[in-house]
């Protein structure tokens, strides 16, 4: 078997939602052994937004390649088991509600007493140390609390509403993985562990840094631009046939403009003084957008993508899941993978994104049922006897799946 980058690393994932669990999944794909610490009394909240705790699409996507121990941390014996796991761990990561890890006795100061070189990552919405450190926060609140949402709208929208997605959650999770990876590398060279305190609002703000410079240096509050670009036209999402179908088109250079007008059969626009140059196109962008939309409206979004791309113009379907599932490049790249999960059966997920030639990432395995690996972890890692494990289950300290796989 090929070596993996993190083959000897043990990570304890005391996360919930996305920001920590999605980042930790990348570490699992890099070969770390990841144990998710959870219990029926303290469910990862993504498990709760489904008919049954093992059938959540979001959970099953986010927690692939992990093991799960069902462990009640409200009990003294449960805490002891976690302490024994910490002794063997390299990384501890949590994004429980502010103050929860501390009240359970597993804040950084407590954990480092057990494992002095531990790398401990904590992620809170507004970060530690400020007045709102303990405020529960979900991604959509953090695009709001960071300034990002204020410019995420069309200029004529009354106020911004963002997206169904929990952004910046999935970007925060990558920063979580980056922080842990860099800290692991530093520990390899120096023997020192450390504490990383991440703020999701700051992840969001760091993605729009140029807007902050515009304010702090030019003293101008940035205006939302929607789909417009100050140096390209047309540039936007245009309606196509069917319900709520759209294609994105962007034309930057004169060469692209001429290819565009030729491909769509409107070469007369090249001569039209309103559109002949980029400057004119931007001055008359409302009219141009209307004309482009008139052209796209009776067409299929996929046909527009193909026609324009063949002409050398950047264009792409505004995809939803069924589009992605038939996208020929996605299929060519094997970018989706079917996994057979014991409860929900065969379902599709994005495939592993990490492409390393020397230490290939591991193939995906289904997300664990709650407590699926309790026995295995207790026996093999903690050398507990079957009798002890059974007794602790009876006492409610340990938990195994309460549902029979299909």
């Amino acid at each position: 078997m090929a070596q993996t980058a993190l083959q000897d690393i043990l990570v304890l994932d005391f996360g919930t939602g996305v920001a920590v669990p999605d980042g930790i999944r990348l570490l699992a794909e890099l070969g770390a052994k990841v144990i998710k610490i959870e219990s029926s009394k303290n469910l990862d909240f993504v498990r709760t937004i489904a008919a049954e705790k093992n059938s959540s699409a979001g959970f099953n996507e986010t927690n692939r390649n992990k093991l799960s121990i069902g462990l009640d941390l409200q009990t003294a014996k449960g805490k002891d088991i976690l302490k024994k796991l910490i002794e063997k761990a390299d990384v501890f990561a949590e994004n429980q509600r502010g103050g929860v890890a501390k009240s359970l006795g597993f804040d950084y100061e407590s954990v480092r007493k057990i494992k002095p070189d531990i790398i401990y990552l904590s992620s809170q919405g507004f970060g530690g140390g400020g007045p709102h450190s303990d405020y529960p926060a979900y991604g959509p609140m953090l695009s709001a609390g960071s300034g990002m949402l204020s410019i995420w709208k069309h200029p004529d929208d009354p106020y911004p509403v963002g997206s169904n997605s929990p952004l910046p959650d999935h970007m925060a999770s990558k920063q979580c993985a980056i922080g842990i990876m860099a800290a692991l590398d530093y520990r390899r060279r120096t023997g020192k562990g450390q504490y990383i305190d991440m703020a999701q609002t700051e992840v969001a703000a760091s993605l729009i840094g140029e807007s902050y410079l515009d304010y702090t240096i030019n003293k101008r509050v940035p205006e939302p631009k929607g789909n417009r670009c100050p140096y390209a036209a047309p540039h936007g999402a245009y309606p196509c046939t069917g319900m709520d179908n759209w294609v994105a088109i962007s034309v930057f250079t004169d060469e692209e403009w001429h290819s565009f007008t030729k491909a769509i059969g409107h070469q007369e626009w090249d001569e039209d003084p309103k559109f002949a140059t980029l400057l004119e196109r931007l001055k008359n962008v409302d009219e141009l957008d209307k004309l482009v939309a008139e052209w796209t409206t009776p067409l299929d979004a996929w046909d527009v993508q193909e026609l324009l791309q063949k002409a050398g113009v950047p264009a792409g379907v505004v995809q939803r899941a069924p589009d992605t599932m038939k996208d020929p490049q996605i299929l060519h790249d094997n970018a989706l993978v079917e996994l057979d999960h014991p409860i929900v059966g065969k379902r599709l997920y994005p495939n592993v994104a990490l492409k390393l030639s020397g230490t290939p990432a591991l193939a995906s395995t289904p997300a664990p049922l709650l407590g699926q690996h309790t026995d295995e972890i207790c026996r093999e890692l903690l050398h507990m006897s079957d009798g002890d494990i059974e007794n602790l289950k009876k006492e409610g300290v340990l938990e195994s799946p309460d549902i029979q796989p299909k």
Binding site: M148, A199, G209, N227
Partner: protein, 405 residues
């Protein structure tokens, strides 16, 4: 270079050949302490022409976009399409740990600077290559752009108002997502180097990995909702304003997360338990999504009795997550950003002093930080070419004249 506090990646050198679409990758590692050398063509990175500009003056040293995304780097000029340029690049690569590039499929190979070539002179090299659509396949010759890649990622269809055009996320979302995933891979490859006894190659296709980077749930949610013989799931739409509603207050808007019955009950309590909100049907999350416009009309009367801060704090006390929609000045001046010293004062010789968003975390041993302002074009040519590669100042004059640097 001035001495500075050690970072987690201090000691590694990164050669950054990317343009604006990959700049955030090496920037992130620069903040973590790596010595990043940005290599631009003698004409300069095209990112230098991206607005906004200092005083709206479109000058190559005044692009906030370039300056933000290339902080924590030193900068040299080099034309790698010349023979001397290729030789100089190889000398730099001998001493480097990482090369990052996004020229497109086969470009570096054709110059004799592909991974296999560099590996011969430096077996420890980690080389990361970004492409828009991969190195082969039906989209191999397709062109990407910020809005096109975001559209393809599957997030755009969920962004904005129902009935209106899906809305682009500010910044460079698909490229930044790919950049951050590449950082994870690069550090993993550095970490694995002693184990496998050498470097490796990393390939990042923006089209392939942007959905993992930004929002990987779209396909799994669709796939989980399919039942054999059952109806197809409803097409994904823009539900931001009904799932995570936005309401006005006295002094700005707030966003409310009431997903569970308990959170909804807490919200009603925050608003003074008005009778009209206590009707049992409102308890259902699905009903609230389906009737979000009616709910908004009712809510207005109550939410506008509070300031953003009042309702935020009351929400916390009662147990319903609420957050203010801050504009950019308000977040800069917010008590949380201040308590964490998040914004970093950076002085640049042309645009002067500004507050930059810093790295999004605080570390106890190796605090990441913006190490330096972005380089002026060719600012470190002498420092690198003369002090490190042993060229003379006269050599630089000749190479400049020949279009090599």
């Amino acid at each position: 270079m001035t001495s500075h506090q050690e970072g987690a990646l201090t000691g590694y050198r990164i050669l950054d050949l990317t343009d604006s679409k990959g700049a955030y990758c090496a920037r992130t590692m620069g903040d973590l302490g790596a010595d990043v050398i940005k290599i631009e063509s003698p004409q300069g990175d095209t990112g230098r022409s991206i607005p906004p500009f200092f005083n709206d003056d479109p000058h190559p040293e005044k692009s906030f976009f370039y300056i933000y995304r290339n902080a924590s780097k030193r900068g040299i000029t080099l034309n790698i399409e010349t023979e001397q340029g290729i030789n100089l690049f190889k000398k730099l690569a001998e001493k480097a740990d990482v090369v990052v590039e996004n020229f497109g499929p086969a470009y570096m190979d054709d110059l004799g600077l592909g991974y296999e070539d560099i590996k011969k002179i430096n077996p420890n090299i980690v080389m990361a290559s970004f492409t828009e659509f991969g190195t082969d396949g039906p989209y191999k010759n397709y062109k990407g752009s910020n809005i096109v890649d975001f559209a393809l990622s599957g997030v755009m269809i969920t962004s904005g108002y129902p009935g209106k055009a899906p809305t682009l996320l500010p910044g460079m979302p698909a490229y930044d997502a790919a950049s951050l995933i590449a950082v994870v891979e690069i550090i993993a490859a550095l970490y694995a180097r002693p184990v496998i006894g050498g470097g490796q190659k990393i390939d990042a296709s923006v089209h392939e990995i942007a959905r993992t980077g930004l929002y990987p749930w779209s396909v799994p949610i669709y796939s989980h909702s399919l039942t054999p013989g059952g109806p197809l799931p409803m097409p994904e739409s823009r539900l931001g304003d009904s799932i995570y509603p936005v309401y006005p207050t006295k002094d700005g808007h707030i966003r409310v997360i009431a997903l569970t019955p308990r959170q909804w009950q807490a919200l009603v309590k925050v608003l003074g338990s008005p009778e009209v909100l206590s009707l049992p049907e409102w308890e259902s999350f699905i009903y609230r999504i389906g009737n979000s416009q009616d709910l908004l009309a009712i809510m207005l009367e109550f939410t506008t009795q509070f300031t953003q801060m009042e309702i935020w704090e009351k929400g916390f006390q009662e147990g319903v997550p609420i957050a203010p929609i801050y504009d950019i000045p308000t977040f800069i001046n917010s008590p949380d950003a201040n308590a964490r010293n998040y914004f970093t004062k950076v002085t640049h010789p042309v645009i002067g002093e500004g507050l930059y968003p810093g790295p999004p975390y605080r570390w106890t041993a190796t605090q990441p930080k913006i190490q330096s302002c972005a380089p002026l074009l060719g600012q470190h040519n002498e420092e690198i070419y003369c002090n490190e590669l042993g060229l003379s100042k006269e050599d630089l004059v000749i190479l400049k004249g020949a279009g090599v640097i």
